[in-house]
Amino acid sequence: MDISTINTLIQFIKILIGFFICILIPGYLLSFVFFPKGKIRDISYRLGIGFGIGLVFLIFIGSILILSFGFLYPWMLAIILFLSSIIIFIKLRFINKEKIFGLQGLWKSTKLLFNLLFLGTIGIYTGSYITTQSIQSKPENFFSEFYLLDSNGALPSTFSNEGSNIQSLVIGVTSHEQSLTNFSLIIRTDDSILRTIRSFTIRPGEKWEDHITFSIEELPTIFLSQRLIFELYKDSNFYRTIFIPVNKLNSNPAMLSETH
C-alpha cells in the first residue's frame, strides 16, 4: 500500500469517526429521550429513528450556533454533542435505569463487528495489492507545465518592440512528472529555427525558468514572421508547444538595415 492510499484511508477513517460521534451516537441516545424503550422494540426502527433525530438535531443545533455567534466550527458542535450525549447516557442508564445496551449483547455484536472489520481490512489490503501489482501508473497522472511570462511576471499576449526596446520573455517548465525528467527546448518562428536550448533536468515539483533575450541577428527573422513558437521536448520526444504572436509596433531602421 503506497502513501497516497494510506492518506486516503486515514482521511476516510477520521470522517467515519466524526460521523459516529456527531450523528449516530447522539441520535441513538436522543431516540430514547423521545421514545422510551417500551415504545419502540424493533431495533432497525429504533436505529432509523435515532439516525433521523441525529441528523435533524445536528442541523438544528448548527443553525442555532450560526445565528447566535455568526460562525460555526466543528469543535463547537463536538463540545455540545459530546456533553449532551454523556448527560443523556447518564440520565438514561443510571437515573431512568433504561437498558440502552445489554452488556452481553454489546460484547457479542462488537466481536462480530470486529470480525467483519478485520475481513474488510483484509479485502482493502488485497484490493490495493492486486491493483498496485496489475495496473501501471497511467501517464495522464503526470504532466509538466510549460509557460511564458513577460518581464513583469505576467502572462504575455504578444512579442513586440516599442522603438528600440525589445520585450524580454521568461520561459519556464514546472514538473509534475513521476520522476527526474530531462527536457530540451527549441525556439522558432513559423519558418525557421532560431535556437535550441541545452537540455535540463528537473525533479517532480521543481521549476525551471530562463530569461530569453534575442540577439540583433535573430530579430529581423522574428519580426518578419507571425508567431514566435516554443517547443518543449521531453526525453528527446516532442512534448508540447506554446506560441506568441509577433507584433512590430515601431520599425527600427538601424536594426532592419543591418540585415537587408
Partner: protein
C-alpha cells in the same frame, strides 16, 4: 441487545451459505474500495468503473446471494446501507479530487472551504443562506485535519447511505410482513437519482425529505399515540432543518402536503367516505403543509433574500416564457442521432428510472388486483402513493410544456424516494410466485439472486454510464470525432495547476473568460469572492470564444483535463488551438490538458 435480536430472527437451515456470503460480501467491498483507493487518479478517465469492473461485479454477486439468504431485517438494512455507501463513495476513493465539476459542486467546495476556515459559508451565492449541508459536512471534521476535498469525496456518501433505514420506517408504516419489508429495503439499491455520484443542492433536500416522510408516516400510528408530542417536535425540527438545507424542497413539500389534504377532502366528499374509513394521517398533512410554507417563507424573508429573488425571477420567466422554454427537456442534438444512438443515450441517462417506473407500476397493479386487504393497503399507502402521483404528474406536465425553470431531474429524485415501496410489492409477489411453483429452496434462491443481480447491473448502466459508447460526431477542422456529450466530470490536476498558475501571473486590467468546466473549477478552487474580484466570466455553451470578448481565456482540451460542456460545434478550438486560433492570439501556458489563450 443487537446480537440477541439477530439470533432471534435467524434461520438455521441456510446458516453456512448466509455466513459465507456475508464474509464474501464484506471481503468484496474491501477489495473494491482498496482497489479504488490505490488508483488515486488525478484526471478524467473513460468512466468511473475503469479498472474496477470485476471488483464491483463481485460485490453485486455476493450482495445478491447474501440478501436472498438473509432473513434478519437489521442485517439486510445494514448490508443495503453498506452497498449504497460503497457505490456512492467509489469516485471518492478512486479520484483524488472531488467528483463533479458542475457549478453546484464548485459552489459547495468554495462554501465548505470558507466554512472550515472562517466558520461561515461564502456570501453572495444561493447556498450561503442554506447552511444545512455545510453543518452536516463540517461536523465530520471533528478530529481535525480533514481536507475539504475529503469531506466532499466521502461525506455525502455517509449520509445518503442511511436512506434504507428511513425507507424501512416508511415501509414499516405500510406493511407488517417481514418478507415485504425485506424487499422494500433491498429495492433501495435501485434509487439512482440523476445526480447519483455528485453533490447537488437537492441531494440533501431529497434525503431530508425522505426522513420527513418517514416521520409523517409514523406520526399517527396507534401504538405511538402516547408519543405524539415527540413526533410533533421532531416534525417541526425536521421541517426547519429541511428549510435551511434546501428551501426549494421544503417549499415543494408544503405545497404537496396541502395538495394531498385537498385531494383527500375532495375524494371523501365525492365518494361519501365515512368518518371511520378516512385516513387519519391526512389531517396532519394540512397542518404540516401550512407549517412548512410558513417556515420556508419566513426563512426566505428573514435570511435568504437571494433565494426569494431567484424564485420570483424564475416564476416571472415561467410566466413570460411559458411557450418559449429556456431549458427544453431534450437537447436538440438528440434528434440528429439515429434511433440506435438515441436508445444508447436514453439508456445511459434514464435506464434505471425506466426500470424503477416499470417495477413500481407492476407493484401498483398487483396491489390494485389483489382481492385481500386492498382497501386497507391503499389506505396505508395513501400518503406515499398520492405524493408519487403528484410528482409524476408535475414531471409529465413539465415535459409536455417544456418547463425547465424548476428542473426536471429534481422531480425524478422525488419520485425515486417512494419507488422501493412499490418495487418491494413486485419482488415479494415474484418470490411468492416462485414458492407457488413448488421449486426447491435452492433453485428459488438461485433465481432470486440471479434476478437481483441482473436488475442491479441494468440499474448500474445509468449509475455508471460507459462514456466510450456515447455516439461521436466530427467537428470542424478536426479529423477525430468527438462524443456528443460527456457523462463524467472529474476535476483534474491539470485544471488545478492552471488555475494556480493564472492566479499568480494574471496581468492587471484584463477581461478574462473561461469555458464552463474551467469556470466552475475556478469557483471551487479560487473561491466565489476571488472569481468576482477578477471578473472571471463564463462563456456560453454556444459561444465561439475567440470573438474578441476577452483578453485572456482559460480553456482545456477534452480528455484527461475533464469534460467539455460546450456544444459539439464549438469545440474545435479546444481540440486544436494551434490550428484554430487566429494569428493574433497566443498560447502562453499549456500543461497538456489545460491551457491559456491570450491576445
Amino acid at each position: 441487545m443487537f446480537y440477541e435480536r439477530f439470533t432471534q430472527q435467524g434461520n438455521s437451515h441456510n446458516y453456512y451459505l448466509q455466513k459465507l456470503s456475508l464474509c464474501g460480501y464484506i471481503l468484496s467491498i474491501g477489495i473494491l474500495l482498496g482497489s479504488a483507493s490505490s488508483l488515486h487518479r488525478s484526471y478524467q478517465d473513460s468512466w468511473v468503473l475503469e479498472n474496477l469492473l470485476p471488483q464491483i461485479l463481485l460485490v453485486i454477486l455476493f450482495f445478491s446471494i447474501y440478501v436472498v439468504n438473509e432473513n434478519r431485517l437489521l442485517y439486510i438494512v445494514i448490508s443495503v446501507c453498506l452497498f449504497i455507501f460503497s457505490v456512492r463513495a467509489l469516485p471518492g476513493f478512486k479520484y483524488i479530487n472531488p467528483y463533479g465539476s458542475a457549478i453546484d459542486q464548485s459552489v459547495h467546495w468554495a462554501n465548505i472551504q470558507e466554512m472550515s476556515n472562517f466558520g461561515i459559508p461564502e456570501h453572495g451565492n444561493v447556498y450561503s443562506d442554506e447552511p444545512g449541508i455545510y453543518i452536516l459536512l463540517i461536523a465530520l471534521n471533528l478530529l481535525g485535519n480533514v481536507t475539504t476535498s475529503s469531506l466532499l469525496r466521502f461525506g455525502p456518501a455517509f449520509f445518503l447511505s442511511l436512506s434504507p433505514f428511513f425507507i424501512y420506517i416508511i415501509g414499516k408504516s405500510i406493511s407488517k410482513s417481514n418478507d415485504q419489508l425485506r424487499f422494500i429495503v433491498i429495492s433501495c439499491v435501485f434509487i439512482i437519482d440523476p445526480y447519483f455520484l455528485v453533490l447537488q443542492g437537492s441531494t440533501f433536500g431529497t434525503f431530508l425529505f425522505t426522513i420527513l416522510v418517514a416521520l409523517i408516516s409514523n406520526r399517527n400510528k396507534k401504538y405511538q399515540s402516547s408519543c405524539n408530542t415527540s413526533w410533533t417536535i421532531l416534525l417541526i425540527i425536521g421541517l426547519y432543518s429541511l428549510t435551511i438545507t434546501h428551501a426549494i424542497t421544503s417549499f415543494i413539500t408544503g405545497v404537496v402536503l396541502l395538495v394531498i389534504w385537498g385531494f383527500h377532502t375532495f375524494y371523501n366528499k365525492v365518494f361519501n367516505i365515512s368518518q371511520n374509513e378516512r385516513h387519519k394521517g391526512v389531517y396532519l398533512t394540512a397542518n404540516l403543509g401550512i407549517l412548512s410554507l410558513v417556515i420556508t417563507l419566513s426563512w426566505w424573508i428573514y435570511k435568504a433574500n437571494l433565494i426569494i429573488n431567484i424564485v420570483v425571477e424564475k416564476s416571472a420567466q415561467l410566466l413570460v416564457n411559458f411557450l418559449n422554454p429556456i431549458r427544453p427537456p431534450i437537447p436538440p442534438n438528440f434528434f440528429s442521432l439515429n434511433s440506435g444512438e438515441q436508445m444508447v443515450i436514453l439508456s445511459l441517462y434514464h435506464l434505471d428510472f425506466i426500470l424503477v417506473i416499470l417495477l413500481s407500476v407492476i407493484g401498483f397493479l398487483i396491489l390494485l388486483g389483489s382481492s385481500s386487504n386492498r382497501a386497507s393497503k391503499l389506505r396505508k399507502l395513501f400518503i406515499p402513493l398520492t405524493m408519487q402521483i403528484i410528482f409524476i404528474s408535475i414531471l409529465f406536465f413539465q415535459l409536455v410544456f417544456k418547463i425547465g425553470q424548476i428542473e426536471y431531474s429534481r422531480f425524478i429524485s422525488y419520485i425515486l424516494i417512494f419507488s422501493p415501496i412499490f418495487i418491494g410489492e413486485t419482488l415479494s409477489v415474484f418470490e411468492a410466485f416462485l414458492k407457488h411453483h413448488h421449486l426447491t429452496n435452492k433453485i428459488r434462491k438461485f433465481i432470486l439472486s440471479a434476478s437481483f443481480m441482473s436488475l442491479i447491473i441494468v440499474a448500474f448502466i445509468q449509475a455508471f454510464p460507459y462514456q466510450p459508447i456515447v455516439p461521436k460526431r466530427a467537428i470542424i477542422n478536426d479529423s477525430e470525432s468527438q462524443p456528443i456529450v460527456y457523462l463524467h466530470t472529474v476535476l483534474s490536476n491539470n485544471q488545478i495547476s492552471m488555475l494556480q498558475f493564472v492566479k499568480n501571473h494574471l496581468p492587471p486590467d484584463v477581461k478574462i473568460g473561461a469555458d464552463i468546466v474551467t469556470f466552475n473549477s475556478a469557483i471551487g478552487f479560487w473561491g466565489i469572492e476571488q472569481t468576482q474580484i477578477i471578473h472571471l466570466q463564463r462563456a456560453l455553451p454556444t459561444e465561439p470564444i475567440q470573438n474578441g470578448k476577452w483578453n485572456i481565456f482559460l480553456y482545456h482540451r477534452p480528455g484527461a483535463a475533464g469534460p467539455l460542456f460546450e456544444q459539439l460545434e464549438y469545440r474545435n478550438l479546444a481540440v486544436n488551438p494551434f490550428l484554430s486560433l487566429p494569428t493574433n492570439w497566443s498560447v502562453p501556458y499549456d500543461n497538456g490538458g489545460s491551457f491559456v489563450i491570450s491576445r
